[in-house]
């Protein structure tokens, strides 16, 4: 009879489908069961998963599941043996090193624990690189804090950050294609949105450097002001990128004027210091940035604004150096907030005394770092100060606000 035969084939196909689905799921579910400490069920699922030939390419994971079950059941020796075997057969897998190191550490064998974790890092270049970068950034942050703590002008050690350029090292760990796909499409959408906005201006691409990394904070349309040019950070600087060009010009001038004075030349800050947020840098390994006229204008405007800020700081320093209290105070906003909970009147009185008391004062700002956000800006710079009593160089931060077209200081921080 035909109908039964048909149904048999149908059942067979359906059965096959179900089996493969179950087995595909089961590897994931084993780990879920293990993490829920449902070890018996986990063992069962593991046994059936092992029989399934579809899982032949997932031997490592199944072995790791065995190790975990042994580990959790208190069969330490077996677990350690399995971890060791796994490290041998699947050196890129991090779990075995980590869990093995825990055993060593619990036994008080810290040397082996450390060696095992170090090996884990060296076995996986991507993780090692990320970890190394993390340490480098911590070291830089520590250095900056030490400089503040100890009034030091010693150069901070160079921040040597490495890019990850090998996609394999990442792919090996992505076991969730759906998630990866959605992340990819999200990024693509974000990028396209920026590109579409630019395309509307009918501006042809300015340049085409397929080999150069173009760097922007988050996404191109996001922070027009936050274009990052960091000399010693993750990125290679674009040679003729139209975004960075005007900014580089304006800051080159700053650099020259700074070095013209007798300033320290400890070259610990990035050479070109426009807006620097290296930690937030997102690397976009795609087509070059196309810039609209509007964006170019904005960049030019920003450059001009930054020059105005630098001029303001210079003029402020010169009024201070001249001990011209009224001119000095005119650089501050009426809404200036003095430190130490002083009222503005008390502060003015204090400044009056401080400036007039001295026989001479020399104040020289240099090495500006500017963050600009419409009508407010933060200018960070080295402040060399010398009077008959005192001489030092500190890193000073001024917060400024644009009032009636003029920059005025609203906060002064050390």
């Amino acid at each position: 009879m035909k109908p039964p035969r048909f149904s048999r084939i149908f059942l067979l196909i359906a059965g096959l489908l179900i089996t493969s689905q179950v087995s595909a799921q089961s590897v994931e579910s084993i780990f879920e069961l293990i993490s829920n400490s449902d070890l018996k069920k986990a063992q069962k699922a593991l046994n059936s998963a092992k029989k399934n030939t579809n899982n032949s390419d997932r031997n490592g994971e199944l072995l790791f599941a065995s190790a975990l079950i042994a580990d959790k059941s208190g069969e330490t020796k077996k677990a350690i043996g399995l971890y060791l075997a796994l490290i041998d057969s699947h050196p890129a897998m991090l779990g075995p090193y980590n869990n093995l190191a825990i055993h060593y550490a619990n036994e008080g064998d810290y040397k082996s624990a450390v060696a095992t974790l170090e090996k884990a890092l060296s076995a996986n270049q991507a993780v090692a690189t990320a970890y190394g970068n993390l340490q480098s950034i911590y070291a830089r942050m520590a250095s900056l804090a030490y400089r503040k703590a100890l009034n030091s002008n010693a150069p901070t050690p160079p921040m040597q950050l490495a890019t990850i350029e090998n996609s394999d090292s990442i792919g090996a760990f992505s076991r969730r294609p759906a998630l990866v796909a959605s992340a990819e499409s999200f990024i693509e959408q974000t990028l396209n949105a920026g590109e579409n906005a630019q395309a509307a201006d009918n501006t042809p691409p300015q340049n085409n450097q397929s080999d150069t990394d173009v760097v922007a904070t988050s996404s191109p349309q996001n922070d027009k002001n936050n274009i990052v040019v960091a000399a010693n950070s993750v990125v290679q600087k674009t040679q003729s990128d139209s975004v960075t060009e005007p900014l580089i010009e304006s800051t080159t001038e700053v650099q020259q004027s700074a070095t013209a004075g007798k300033e320290d030349d400890t070259n610990d800050e990035p050479a070109v210091t426009v807006v620097e947020k290296p930690v937030e840098v997102a690397k976009v390994n795609t087509a070059p940035t196309k810039l609209s006229d509007e964006a170019k204008q904005l960049a030019e405007k920003n450059a001009a604004e930054k020059q105005a800020l630098i001029n303001h700081v210079k003029s402020w320093a010169s009024a201070w150096s001249d001990r011209d209290v009224d001119r000095y105070l005119s650089h501050y906003s009426a809404g200036f907030t003095p430190r130490n909970n002083l009222s503005i009147e008390e502060w003015k009185k204090q400044r009056y005394g401080r400036l007039r008391w001295r026989e001479f004062i020399i104040v020289k700002p240099s090495r500006y770092r500017i963050e600009l956000n419409d009508n407010v800006a933060t200018v960070n710079f080295n402040q060399y100060y010398k009077s008959e009593r005192f001489e030092d160089t500190i890193r000073k931060t001024l917060k400024l606000k644009k009032e009636n077209g003029q920059w005025r200081i609203t906060h002064e921080l050390i």
């Binding site: 993390l134 340490q135 030490y146 703590a149 100890l150 030091s152 008391w357 050390i414």
Partner: protein, 397 residues
């Protein structure tokens, strides 16, 4: 007015991690903090550190340096944690040019930590043994203990004292025992605040103002100690505070705390400042028991003066130490011979045990003198010293 200044070099070795390692070995006895307080935040981040909660420690330190960007200690602790995270514990050596810098900050941390976490004698209700009696005009007494880098403020409650505040403080670069001008030391003794100098007229390093004290006092002058311009003052703007040994001999507080002590200080010689290398802390009852023998000395001196028995009266004065003793005796005999009666009233009596090696009391009072031909009210200060088991006046003014 401005003291000469030469910078003291300290040559102790720099350790690898500047602060964390020595500290985590300390025991955690007590934590009590008001969150707004600078020192409490430091202590909080240290105790987080001790319980290996680096994240919390980092977080509170980041807040601290944001609020007080001139906090050297805050930046240092932050740097230590970050360098631990960076795995480069020797990073500090690249920035510490002068080893004394780190030692100073380490000492500061130790002192601050102790006063925030340990049960100090002051917190147990004990009182410096120097506080024998205070005049009603002396509402607050400042008591500085150099060994703890701490300035205590006691309120005079008549027959007892109440601790009202205490602050981390800085003393001279060369420590205690001021002897001559420019020695960068802080004097040990009992002094009084003489005036107030507003910060506007002062260099930045004094902070918001200064309270000069009367160094050299009569006793210092007797010992031919030199120097002048010992003040209680604030801190230069680039530091939140200074490390324990970092003034030219003055007591320096953070600016926040200098502003706070202003409420306790009078500038008409009614705020005693007792500066000691190390206080002898005693229970209040012990202190009360010590007051009456001291009072008896004064009462006996007064009674003997009123008795018109000049020999007995002058026996209270030291023939070896009291200036122009013989002329003094002669004059007293002449004066007393012509008197029919003398009546003495003592008001606003204060008695302080003088810090230092000597057994000495500094006594001050308002004296109302009445005799058959004279009436006067004077303020008197006496230094009583115990020599060969006998208390005698070595100086009177």
């Amino acid at each position: 007015m401005i003291m000469s200044c030469t910078s003291a070099k300290f040559s102790k070795r720099i350790g690898k991690l500047s602060l964390i390692l020595p500290l985590v070995t300390l025991s955690l006895a007590k934590i009590a903090f008001a969150e707004s307080k600078y020192e409490a935040t430091i202590a909080e981040s240290l105790s987080s550190l001790q319980s290996a909660n680096l994240d919390h420690s980092l977080e509170s330190l980041e807040k601290l340096v944001e609020k007080h960007p001139n906090s050297k200690l805050g930046h240092l602790l932050l740097a230590d944690i970050l360098s631990a995270r960076a795995g480069s514990l020797d990073l500090v050596n690249q920035f510490a040019s002068d080893p004394g810098q780190l030692d100073g900050l380490r000492d500061e941390t130790r002192h601050r930590w102790r006063s925030q976490t340990a049960q100090t004698p002051a917190e147990q209700g004990m009182v410096p043994a120097n506080l024998l009696a205070s005049s009603p005009t002396q509402r607050y007494i400042l008591a500085a203990d150099a060994s703890e880098s701490r300035l205590y403020v006691y309120e005079n409650l008549g027959t007892s004292y109440q601790l009202v505040a205490d602050y981390f403080m800085t003393i001279g670069k060369q420590g205690m025992g001021k002897n001559k001008e420019g020695d960068l030391r802080t004097p040990e003794g009992v002094y009084f605040v003489t005036s107030y100098l507003p910060g506007e007229g002062l260099p930045d390093r004094y902070g918001p103002g200064a309270f000069p004290i009367n160094y050299p006092n009569e006793y210092d002058k007797k010992l031919k100690r030199t120097g002048y311009g010992i003040w209680i003052h604030g801190t230069e703007s680039e530091n939140y505070n200074r490390v324990p040994l970092a003034s030219d001999g003055c007591l320096s507080l953070s600016n926040d705390e200098f502003l706070e002590i202003q409420q306790f200080v009078s500038t008409d010689w009614t705020t005693p400042v007792i500066i000691s290398s190390k206080f002898d802390w005693v229970q209040p009852e012990t202190l009360k028991a010590a007051v009456s023998p001291a009072r008896q000395l004064i009462d006996q001196w007064k009674a003997d003066w009123e008795s018109l028995d000049t020999d007995r009266f002058v026996s209270h004065y030291s023939p070896t130490h009291f200036k122009n003793y013989n002329a003094f005796v002669k004059r007293k005999k002449q004066v007393n011979a012509a008197k029919e009666f003398i009546e003495i009233d003592l008001n606003n009596l204060s008695i302080y045990d003088y810090p230092g090696d000597e057994s000495m009391l500094i006594v001050s009072f308002d004296q109302e003198y009445r005799s058959d031909n004279h009436h006067s009210v004077t303020q008197k200060k006496q230094y009583w010293m115990k020599e060969a088991g006998r208390w005698q006046i070595i100086h009177e003014s």
